[in-house]
């Protein structure tokens, strides 16, 4: 019998729909795989065995009753632990929410359930999505399945690692500055940050509200598109959710084609700090696109130079306010409440014990940036940079259809290497941040292994807001082109663990 965990999501759904395997069998196979390898990988913070089997059984019952199944019915998924799940722990990778059982489902969670997608459990992440390596998780790091001593990217390292280690064919991530794309790049998987507002943020624990965006993670472009379609769409519970039809992403993923497409290469996404092998693989992707009939256009977006600085003012500012609610009074842990201390003292002790160093650093940064007397110089200026970046994108998209770049300047670095150097860590998001600031859609798709370390390199594709389908059209073409060249998908080369 075929190994059900090696199938991609579209194949899995077809297998279940045809009756070749039941949803329960598929789910059990993945639970077994988790049992076998996750001790090494540590992709999951919580595995919901009972809930997963129950959801799978419901799909099987539905099929037995002759009801029509959705395109991803019965397919298992690893959910980033930032989305609330009723009755299932949600920690956001933080000690402060240790033991919290949400009383409600995020809109995204509800959509997954309604689509018959089986939620296997909750995946590891940098605490409150603040980080690029998953080392900031209060529950320990996740290993990169390509090399367990290396980081799987972050903040959504757990979701990406689950895909790359075949513990789940689908995963959900969230992307504030690159937290879907950067892990996808360093694990050889596909990750999409949809247009801001495309996927509801209701029930997604906020880091930086104006930047946060949930999105699909998968091993293939088509799988990502199928998941994109399942989770996107207007939600009246999220005021910033887009009230417009979801772009035809699945159709685009089925028709990968770049003939005549104008592809922009931005000068500012290169230079110092880019690993040689990453540049080499990126150039290979440019060549491939040219061969496939795309027109390559060189561009300059001067404002991108300031994107990282602006991001590290805006995101911490919003975070300092979003995280103020974690005070130990209503949910999560409470420290020092021995009857003699005031509420303020208990809150201080709770936060001291509950928040990790990176979260504290960003709360302080943000609090400072919003302070009266500093607001204009910091938060205000950062917003102006944001406007300039948006304009640079708008101008660029006047002459090109998509923009490409390396997703991340380097391949996966060793666990611990940048843990004490926040600035080095922040550079991992150099190429991904501009799309968040402008609200555009962007994807990372594998473009090979860096010759010097044999680790995956990601190609980033950026499209205008609401043109997410372009990502899938280009992504599918690149994916098919490379598979034709390599003779197999990149992940085939990953260790089997």
């Amino acid at each position: 019998m075929t190994d059900l965990t090696r199938l991609n999501a579209a194949e899995t759904a077809a297998t279940i729909a045809s009756g070749e395997a039941s949803a329960v069998e598929v789910t059990q196979a993945h639970l077994d795989r988790i049992g076998a390898v996750d001790e090494k990988v540590h992709a999951f913070l919580h595995v919901d065995t009972e809930g997963a089997l129950k959801a799978a059984k419901a799909v099987d019952d539905k099929r037995a009753a002759g009801e029509k199944l959705g395109p991803l019915a019965g397919v298992p998924l690893a959910l980033k632990d930032i989305f609330t799940t009723k009755g299932v722990p949600t920690t956001v990778g933080s000690k402060i929410l240790d033991g919290w059982i949400p009383p409600y489902d995020a809109t995204l969670t509800t959509r997954l359930r309604n689509a018959g997608i089986v939620i296997l459990g909750k995946t590891n992440m940098d605490e409150f999505a603040m980080g690029s390596s998953t080392e900031n998780s209060a529950y320990g790091p996740t290993g990169n399945p390509w090399d367990l001593t290396r980081i799987p990217g972050g903040s959504g390292g757990g979701s990406a690692a689950a895909l790359a280690s075949f513990q789940a064919p689908l995963a959900i991530g969230t992307d504030t500055g690159g937290s879907i794309r950067q892990p996808a790049a360093v694990t050889g998987t596909v990750g999409v940050k949809p247009t801001y507002g495309a996927v509801s943020r209701y029930g997604m624990v906020a880091f930086s509200s104006s930047l946060d965006q949930g999105g699909p993670c998968a091993r293939t472009v088509l799988d990502a598109a199928l998941l994109h379609e399942a989770i996107a769409g207007h939600d009246p519970m999220d005021s910033t959710s887009i009230d417009a039809p979801v772009p035809p992403v699945v159709e685009a993923a089925r028709n990968g084609n770049v003939k005549g497409l104008r592809v922009g290469v931005v000068k500012e996404f290169s230079g110092e700090g880019y690993q040689a092998g990453v540049v080499e693989r990126f150039n290979g992707a440019v060549e491939l696109l040219r061969e496939l009939g795309a027109e390559i256009v060189e561009l300059s977006c001067p404002s991108f130079t300031y994107a990282l600085a602006a991001y590290y003012l805006i995101a911490p500012s919003e975070a300092s306010s979003n995280l103020a609610r974690f005070d130990g009074l209503r949910y999560g842990i409470r420290v020092g409440d021995d009857g003699t201390r005031s509420a303020e003292e208990v809150t201080a002790l709770t936060r001291e014990a509950g928040f990790g160093p990176e979260v504290k650093r960003r709360i302080m940064l943000g609090t400072y940036a919003l302070s009266s007397g500093y607001y204009d110089a910091y938060y205000g200026s950062a917003q102006k940079v944001r406007t300039l970046i948006t304009r640079d994108f708008e101008r660029s998209f006047g002459s090109v259809d998509v923009i490409i770049s390396p997703t991340t300047p380097t391949t996966a670095f060793p666990i611990g290497e940048r843990a004490d150097d926040p600035m080095a860590m922040y550079l991992a998001d150099l190429c991904t941040i501009p799309a968040n600031l402008a609200g555009n859609s962007a994807m990372s798709v594998p473009c090979g292994l860096a010759p010097e370390d044999g680790l995956p390199v990601g190609l980033q594709i950026i499209a205008p807001a609401l043109a997410d389908d372009r990502l899938y059209r280009v992504g599918a073409a690149v994916e098919a082109g490379f598979i034709a060249r390599w003779g197999h998908p990149l992940l085939e080369e990953a260790p089997t663990l």
Binding site: P102, P103, S321, A324, R325
Partner: protein, 501 residues
């Protein structure tokens, strides 16, 4: 804690008061400002809450459209400009009864700004209060501090939190500095809040019941020497929750500030608590430096851009505003400015209108409410509207008088009976036997009896001294225990004595 106070008169001799009034109005929307929870009062603690108003991780706000509409109506009624585009902002500070530890409010982009409200003082003088802004925000939860002496957090052993109120829509209405009111500043403060309350009620956006906390006032006050342009340091007296208290708090602060300043001291910028019992204020927390709320635009909500057509539609649909209505009623009732002002001061407008609607004529409706009933409300120390008599009952009394079934004296007894809980006017008439004696035979006999008993007076009348008739009428009224129609008695007396009236 009491302070040395300077007499009010002396304070005003040396200083000009400048006030700023901040009024919070809880809107009467069915649901909260950013979620679908009920706003009904009196429910079990924490029974009207959801992930949004509890600020649970992941929850997001959605703006209540009726809340925005109400804010625009208030802005229009206050002669404000309505923003073409505005945003919510987060006001960041910690307090356990605020679930998110920030309040979703508005900062530099309020929905309404630059308005005014004309208020009538007791003598009919009109004072224009300039409005800085009216903005939308959400209420906090409610803390109950248990174990402390004063019910305040200091000294409490534990606190209970009820989040039912968290997220109820509030409109905060802020005046520009109110200058030039001089000795009348406390009166202006009270009249402003009173007029605002009438306005809010007329708009139907809130019941604005101060005793229920649906309308709360902060009185900011500073003094400066006559002729000085620069504003003095202000105190902020929080949660002054009745019209009378607003006046008293302003007055107290004027006297206290004057005492501090005239003895060479400096006023500390601080919040203060008002005490109903003795009308004093005591310090709350000291604001050593201006609190830094780190306002920034609320990223979870999209900007609000009320279409001009919609604003104009709302403007056209505004109900008659209180000042306009008063003017119309005054004309309808044909009374002078000062009479209308007394009606307003007594809080009798709606009662009189309702009495007229129940069938009474304007003059008698006003006569009863502003006469006998006003007297009783003063005596009993309760608001006119709190008296246990309805406009319909007053209208019934009035009807009994005009039909001749009651005279004024009997009518007063009927009202007394109704107030004493003896039932409807007709029941009281029945039980107390208060009908005017209209039986001509009985009345004639009483007149005969009075003439017989007062021969000397009867002679005077026969001699043409009509003024003496009053004494005979009084005697008849005495015999009939007041239950006679005085006019008819007079006719009978004159008739029987053969004198032309």
């Amino acid at each position: 804690m009491t302070h040395d106070l300077v007499s009010y008169e002396d304070a005003l001799k040396a200083y000009d008061p400048v006030m700023g009034l901040e009024v919070h109005v809880e809107l009467g929307t069915k649901t909260k400002m950013f979620c679908g929870c009920s706003t009904a009062l009196g429910a079990e603690p924490n029974s009207q809450v959801c992930p949004v108003c509890l600020g649970l991780p992941g929850a997001l706000p959605v703006v209540n459209a009726i809340g925005v509409e109400s804010a625009i109506k208030i802005g229009l009624a206050l002669n404000c400009e309505i923003a073409e585009w505005c945003r919510f902002a987060r006001k960041n500070y910690f307090y356990p009864d605020m679930p998110k530890n920030f309040q979703t409010s508005q900062y530099d982009e309020p929905i309404a700004f630059n308005g005014y409200l004309d208020v009538s003082l007791e003598d009919g003088e009109v004072f224009r209060v300039q409005i800085e802004r009216a903005h939308m925000e959400e209420d906090t939860g409610k803390s109950t501090h248990v174990g402390g002496a004063t019910g305040r957090i200091h000294g409490a052993t534990y606190s209970l939190l009820d989040y039912n109120r968290a997220g109820i829509p509030l409109i905060e209405i802020v005046t520009k500095p109110i200058e030039g009111a001089g000795v009348r500043a406390p009166e202006v403060a009270k009249a402003y809040v009173a007029e605002l309350r009438e306005l809010i009620k007329a708009l139907g956006v809130s019941e604005a019941r101060m005793e229920m906390g649906q309308m709360r006032c902060d009185v900011n006050l500073s003094l400066r020497p006559h002729g000085e342009k620069k504003l003095g340091t202000r105190s902020e007296t929080k949660n002054v929750n009745s019209l009378r208290s607003v006046e008293r708090a302003a007055r107290y602060e004027i006297q206290r500030h004057a005492a501090v300043l005239s003895s060479g001291g400096t006023i500390v910028q601080e919040t203060r608590h008002f005490h109903e019992e003795d009308g004093s204020t005591t310090p709350g927390r000291i604001k050593e430096e201006a609190e830094d709320y780190r306002y920034f635009p609320e990223p979870d909500l999209v900007p609000i851009a009320p279409a001009r057509e919609w604003v104009e539609e709302l403007r056209a649909g505004l109900p008659e505003l209180p000042s306009v209505r008063r003017k119309r009623l005054q004309e309808d009732w044909g009374i002078a400015d000062h009479e209308m002002q007394s009606v307003l001061n007594a809080g009798a407008i709606d009662l009189i209108v309702a009495t007229i609607e129940a069938g009474a004529d304007a003059a008698s409706a006003r006569k009863w409410w502003m006469g006998e009933l006003a007297r009783r409300s003063n005596e009993d120390g309760v608001e006119l509207a709190e008296l246990p008599i309805t406009p319909a009952q007053v209208a019934r009394v009035s009807a009994l008088v005009s039909s001749g079934d009651l005279n004024d004296k009997l009518a007063r007894q009927v009202i007394e009976g109704v107030l004493a809980g003896e039932g409807d006017p007709d029941t009281v008439v029945e039980k107390r036997g208060l009908k005017v004696v209209s039986d001509e035979g009985a009345l004639g006999a009483a007149v005969d009896e009075a003439i017989a008993a007062n021969g000397a007076i009867a002679d005077k009348i026969r001699g043409g001294n009509l003024a003496a008739a009053g004494a005979l009428i009084g005697a008849v009224m005495k015999i009939t225990r007041g239950q006679a129609d005085a006019k008819r008695v007079r006719e009978l007396v004159l008739e029987k004595l053969g004198v032309q009236g």
